[in-house]
Amino acid sequence: MNWTAIAAIYRFEMARFFRTLMQSFLSPVLSTSLYFVVFGAAIGSRIDQVEGVAYGAFIVPGLIMLSVMTQAISNASFGIYFPKFIGTIYELLSAPVNFLEIVLGYVGAAATKALFIGVVILITASLFVDLTIAHPFAMMLFLVLTCVSFALLGFIIGVWAKNFEQLQLVPLLIVTPLVFLGGSFYSISMLPTIWQKITLFNPVVYLISGFRWSFFGTSDVPVGFSLLAIGGFTLLCLGAIWWIFKTGWRIRA
């Protein structure tokens, strides 16, 4: 393993993040605060409680997941798309590094950024609502796994994308709807029976359910399923990336 190379990629990617630190920091703080004003105050005052949890607190895990997933994807996809776009990818391709090292560097950095934002949102949220975390270690595990797996997905999107529109397309058309419909802001037990069934095909449901369980100890689906789902998703993405580098798909002419 070329650890020096992994560290070099990681540091180079993080430098981009630090150049725009204020922006990286302020925008999640601002949007979270807005969510609390809108959902927590306006809707929460009518809904009161979900599964024995105050609505304001109930939406926190979903809010974190929503941001973490979209951030992990957009950071990772941009991270690898940008070198393709400006041509600096020549250096990666001609360096003595293998696919795993490239992925560890890029995905590691993207996941770190997403994790940072997740933590910022958690802290911001705790200023608005009373939060107790039932299983802190499980919470961190879910958070980190989500950051990593969605950064892997983002990496694939970045390799696949041929232009900036495509880069935005998947997050916009697929991921955001899946997250919103994945029970970010409600319990799926609140849905009509038929939709409860359909919803189970949405992989995001398992992630949010597991993550919410780590906060409140209650979940829509068994926690084991959640771990299996996220583990399987991670492996799937890794497999796809392995194939990409083996065949050089959209990277090597």
């Binding site: 020096t4 180079f12 400006i86 020549y90 250096e91 003595p96 002419a253």
Partner: protein
């Protein structure tokens, strides 16, 4: 000397079906400077990209320092520094961080003293804290060179390093190349300027349409390029070259109405005066005299039709 880079029957067909390399064979010796000379679209960049791992070969093999570029890519690539033709740089990063990144990417431990030395040598030291987007075109190209040198390559590829670069910088670049050669670095540069090959190369390879037409010591190639042809047109029609003129290596034009003499413009004596005296002495009458410079194109044409060298 052992070949540090050995290319065997290398072929590259791009996805669209275009064959950019048609079986390239080339051995490059350690420590030499090879200039690959060829027109646009000849396959120079494709050849370099394939050796460096940016494009995948369709068939054939390449070894670098004895390491196969596919099977043993880490060892092979560790030896190579690449300065690409296009200026591909992260615009928002500083010069220093970009160069440091390259060294790390190649798995080499941090060495600020070395990077300082490289930046100073390339007159980039004052700009080390500047973002790359603030630099001029020539400076950016030097950043690319600094990145390639940051990991102590044994082989350096320079893909058209002086295209669009002003005269001053071109000279600087040649100095850097000469210095690297003194350090024992093998250098392969592509160019379509014959003067560039002339100025710095030890050997020159000529490539067109994905084929290497020849690889020659520069001196030898320059001699050929320095050759001129003198055509002495006669009033008489001859059936063979008169005896006294044979020693000059003169040939007869097909219609028998002109003598053709090839001479070296670089030579101390061209032999023209003596030849013309002999023509007069042989009792021949001059109708006209013409000279023709053999150009790189002539050599290309000669090579393609297979009657040169």
């Amino acid at each position: 000397m052992a070949a540090i880079l050995s290319i065997k029957d290398l072929q590259k067909t791009y996805e669209g079906g275009f064959q950019a390399l048609k079986g390239v064979n080339l051995d490059i010796e350690e420590g030499e400077i090879l200039a690959l000379l060829g027109p646009n679209g000849a396959g120079k960049t494709t050849l370099i990209s394939t050796i460096c791992g940016i494009t995948t070969p369709s068939s054939g093999s390449v070894t670098v320092g004895g390491h196969d570029i596919l099977e043993d890519f880490r060892a092979a690539r560790s030896l190579i520094g690449l300065v690409p033709q296009e200026i591909n740089l992260e615009p928002f990063e500083t010069v220093w961080n970009s160069v440091r990144f390259s060294r790390g990417l190649f798995g080499k431990p941090r060495n600020d003293a070395l990077i300082e030395e490289i930046l100073r040598k390339l007159s980039l030291w004052d700009k080390r804290k500047s973002q790359i987007k603030e630099l001029s075109g020539g400076m950016k190209r030097r950043v690319l060179i600094a990145k390639a040198l940051s990991h102590d390559p044994r082989i350096l590829f320079l893909d058209e390093p002086t295209a669009g670069v002003d005269v001053e910088l071109r000279k600087d670049m040649w100095d850097v190349v000469a210095e690297l050669k003194r350090d024992g670095v093998t250098i392969i540069l592509t160019t379509h300027y014959i003067e560039e090959a002339e100025a710095i190369a030890d050997r020159v390879g000529v490539i067109t349409s994905g084929e290497i037409l020849l690889v020659q010591e520069k001196e030898q190639l320059m001699r050929q390029l320095g050759q001129k042809q003198l055509e002495v047109q006669l009033v008489e029609t001859l059936s063979e070259v008169p005896d006294p003129l044979r020693t000059y290596g003169v040939s007869l034009r097909e219609d028998g109405r002109a003598l053709i003499y090839t001479y070296d413009t670089n030579a101390e004596r061209t032999g023209i005066t003596a030849l013309l005296n002999e023509v007069a002495a042989a009792g021949l009458t001059l109708a006209d005299v013409q000279t023709r410079q053999s150009s790189l194109e002539d050599i290309f044409v000669g090579l393609v039709s297979g009657d040169n060298t």
